[in-house]
């Protein structure tokens, strides 16, 4: 299903072709429409048309209580729902001036890191599929299946988990939680090696991803790109280290950095991030503190009037919540800073001068989820 309506636009006398990609397209990872301005085969500019998945989440938030809004948050970046939940719950906890107990923080960290691995697995599978490697997708989904089984055992849901509550957790870690996580992590190292064998040294893969979609560090910061995109351009910065939240300050992990800021570096950064997440999980399950899982939070949440901004390092980038309270049970304004939305802005800069066949690779490497772009 391809939408190949093409219009000839004459711009400044040059013969420019506008090629339309999407919104139904196998490789735009959701309903995204990209208008490519082509000159022959080279891309001269892109224009993204988004909003096909806009559901008005921020307006909905003004009409729900704080607890009622929590499930909506999962539906934004539906590939990494647990991270969204973590950001929201921590933001509201800051608004209420409560802190989740240590046991809750550690379990939250484990779940979020597993979710990071799961999100990166989807990214890897679909990105490789766009470039033509058919097999990594199925291997990645096989691994993701294990993580989703853990989520299902924990909170009953695989995708839109609503795993955390404001103040901590609702569900205690089930009996074999640590064993399951440990078994997954022990297995995962071998699996990552499978992906590395298939892709990392493959000269076709390198040829398709080296020097494709280069973004310098200054451009990244200027355009607001964050997450693996920023790190692949050489900026060694991770919010989990800069301003630790949950239990991240307890664990040792590295921040992978790239050099060129091209697609290949983003691939390497995300692969290494998966390894680091695995290490965090292994450290965390060794010592989950005992104690309560829910802090002292009442049934009815009425934060004192004011505002808060809290951001976390979601798998896609910096996910921020700006919540304004007017003292009632419903938030006055909830603003979600969506990493995919802001990363997608960089598409224009990254795609210029490349061939049409590279645009697909560049969209894939940005790792966007349209649920988050549009909210």
């Amino acid at each position: 299903m391809r939408d190949d309506a093409a219009q000839k636009e004459t711009l400044l006398g040059a013969d420019e072709l506008v090629l339309n990609m999407g919104p139904q397209h196998p490789s735009t990872h959701g309903v995204l429409r990209v208008k490519l301005k082509l000159d022959g085969e080279r891309v001269r500019g892109t224009e993204c048309v988004i909003g096909y998945l806009h559901r008005g989440v921020e307006k909905i938030a003004e009409n729900r209580t704080y607890q009622q809004f929590a499930p909506y948050v999962d539906r934004m970046d539906y590939v990494a729902a647990v991270s969204n939940g973590l950001g929201y719950c921590e933001a509201v906890e800051k608004l209420l001036n409560v802190e989740a107990p240590p046991r809750a923080k550690v379990i939250r960290t484990i779940m979020t890191e597993l979710q990071r691995i799961a999100s990166h697995l989807i990214w890897l599978g679909t990105h490789a599929l766009d470039i033509g490697a058919l097999t990594p997708l199925f291997y990645c989904l096989r691994e993701r299946e294990e993580i989703l089984k853990i989520f299902e055992k924990y909170c009953g849901a695989r995708l839109t988990t609503h795993a955390f509550r404001i103040g901590g957790l609702q569900y205690e870690a089930y009996d074999s939680f640590e064993k399951d996580v440990e078994r997954f992590c022990k297995d995962f190292e071998r699996r990552i090696q499978e992906y590395v064998d298939l892709l990392t040294g493959n000269s076709i893969w390198i040829g398709r991803t080296r020097n494709v979609g280069v973004l310098s560090a200054e451009d990244c910061i200027a355009l607001g790109a964050s997450g693996p995109v920023l790190r692949a351009s050489g900026v060694k910065w991770d919010l989990r280290k800069a301003q630790p939240y949950a239990a991240y300050d307890l664990y040792k992990f590295e921040i992978p950095v790239g050099t060129n800021g091209d697609t290949y570096d983003r691939y390497m950064v995300r692969m290494e991030e998966m390894r680091q997440s695995r290490l965090i999980c292994l450290q965390a399950i060794e010592n989950i503190p005992a104690g309560p899982i829910l802090g002292k939070v009442g049934k009815v949440l009425k934060p004192p009037a004011g505002e808060i901004y809290h951001s976390i390092e979601a798998p896609k980038g910096i996910l921020g919540y700006y919540i304004v309270s007017d003292g009632t049970t419903q938030p006055y304004r909830v603003r979600i800073r969506p990493p995919s939305f802001i990363n997608l802005q960089a598409l224009d800069k990254m795609a210029r001068g490349h061939l049409v066949a590279d645009v697909v690779a560049i969209i894939g490497t940005l790792d966007i989820v349209l649920g988050e772009v549009d909210r």
């Binding site: 909003g51 806009h54 200027a222 004192p304 808060i308 901004y309 006055y332 802001i342």
Partner: protein, 167 residues
Amino acid sequence: MQIPLDNDLTKRYREQFGAAILDAVEDRKQPYLIIAATQLEEIARYSRDVEKFDLLEDYTAVDWPRREKRFDLVAILYSFPHNLRLRLKIPLADGETPASLVEIWPTANWLEREIFDMFGISFSGHPDMKRILLPEEWQGHPLRKDYDILQQDTAWVRENLGIESGQ
């Protein structure tokens, strides 16, 4: 929860811009400055170049319809060198068009378009001021407090489906 703020950072801003810094507050350990819209561009440039707030982390607005200056434009800045976050709040009246920050932080391009889309605040100097999430022909700005979802739904259903909405 709000306590007035008077740290070094605030002092430097006040020195530089004087009366344009309307207020400096710290709420739940997060600082924000309330600044005048007229000096928005200069303060932004100063923040980026001198105070090294090189990342415009977020840019949004809040609607307080009963206030005279009903909108609060909120810019959340982050400094990589200092690992510091700062919020700038700019009160705006309905119809006021603040300067666009695209020249200073290119990421403001889509962020300002979304503010325009949701609140109707137009930015002067923006290269592409049009709606981003909603279709071009959409009427109204949804995140304003006087935008009634139910009324909009019933109107659409009546117009397009010819029945009364069950909401």
